[in-house]
Symmetry: C2
Subunit: 241 residues, 2 copies
DNA sequence: ACATGAAATGATGTGCACAACTATTGCAAA
DNA sequence: TTTGCAATAGTTGTGCACATCATTTCATGT
């Protein structure tokens, strides 16, 4: 346990080789699994086999275990000795807590040193709205999930406060799949319309660089989204009872 | 990748055996190292040797690596291949971002379903204030750190919103050691006095169960703490220039 | 037929040997 | 003396065999 001098900015910055480093491989496996969980390719309750994943990525169980441990610390899976690694689910109570928090964090993101939008940023959001209009004729779960995630990435890029951005992303990745799973086919069109409106409203605020208003608009839409979800769950529970 | 039925509440709840399970051992090593980092026993820049830690806890490098990976994902250390695992430091800019965020999260904690205090809770806080008065005659870095952490635990226990509590704890553990390191001996007495005032004021709000006011008091004190820190850093930089 | 428990099965956890990587050190050449 | 480079020491990363744990299965006694 010796003290070392701070390395400073003398970091080597030449990752242009072909063979990926250990960290890059690990990050890649991590993001791949995370996206699969978020996009419901691995729905809640799925058991992830360390050996299968190791085989798919052509590595041994050791680096896979590192990734799964990371996913567990972020609440995406639960590792149980002798049982398996299970994609976690969430009940309405947990979901409510995360939503109440995300609601307020959206406002904070608009207040704590937000990053002004460039024309290129706005153009990407317009493209997302256009894409939403294209596919609204034949709604699709997976495509909705992808669009939603892409729009979230645009919003996230506005958050100048680094720890706040990381926290918001964590909470989003943790709950987006639960919402997706709860969306019945009946309400998908309604959700598409609501999502389209949200993007249009927020784009209007972004165009005049009123980033605090972006936060409040987001707060409103997160709130309404959860209200609709509660309504569905209660209806669904009434049916099964 | 098969779907398994949710296990429900059929979890076995008999951890009264002598031999600690794998998870318990892992958590114990984690908390031990985390506290050492927070209390400056491992100051920023310290290189943690996997082998030494493995030897100390009588395990192999494998479970130690799991703990270090977790500490890295929480921003406490940085693992570098072929170099070592280094306790991270933070500059004033990073610290400012975390403080601005913690300031607002303190207010949120008072608004999002806070947990009312019992007489036993209040008594523990009174004991902390008494202990603070006892040792204020001969201020000590380590004791200040311990008291501060104990008080934070009391505040944290008031946060009913689980994800918010976990986030707040993360941010606290991530930055408390930086603050501690920046505290020069000259200002220690001043910090002791300010900390004592903060606890007394918050206790008053707790006694009448005005938890929203607790949040605002915390916000004010976090803000003032950072302002004093900035003042010190600027003075110190002026000296060395 | 049913309850019971021991064995088998398949999952994650651990230990160890070795590979990959970085920083240092020493030596040789300009 | 300085510069470049190669050998070296010491660290984290990986692969594999085995230990540990939880579940399932099936045989056995009541």
């Amino acid at each position: 346990m010796t003290i070392v001098e701070p390395a400073g900015a003398a970091r080597k910055a030449a990752p242009d080789r072909v063979t990926a480093s250990a960290r890059e491989r690990s990050d890649r496996i991590y993001m791949t699994l995370r996206d699969r969980i978020c996009l419901l390719e691995y729905p809640p309750g799925t058991r992830l086999s360390e050996e299968e994943i190791a085989e798919e990525f052509a590595v041994s169980r050791t680096p896979v275990r590192r990734v799964l441990t990371r996913l567990e610390s972020e609440g995406m899976v639960e590792i149980m000795h002798g049982v398996g690694t299970i994609v976690t689910d969430a009940d309405l109570e947990q979901l409510a807590q995360v939503y109440h928090l995300r609601r307020e964090l959206a406002v904070l993101a608009g207040r704590l040193s937000p990053i002004p939008r460039t024309e290129a940023d706005l153009e990407r959001v317009r493209a997302l709205i256009a894409r939403c209009d294209e596919i609204s004729a034949q709604p699709d779960h997976a495509e909705f999930a992808r669009l939603n995630m892409a729009f979230f990435a645009e919003i996230s890029a506005m958050t100048g406060n680094v720890p706040l951005r990381e926290i918001s992303e964590r909470l989003y990745f943790q709950t987006s799949r639960i919402v997706l799973k709860l969306l019945p086919v009946l309400n998908l069109a309604e959700e598409f319309a609501a999502f389209r409106d949200e993007m249009a409203e927020i784009l209007a605020a972004m165009q005049i660089n009123d980033l605090e208003s972006v936060g409040h608009l987001r707060r409103a839409h997160i709130s309404m989204s959860f209200t609709r979800m509660q309504r569905y769950v209660q209806t669904h529970q009434a049916e099964t009872t």
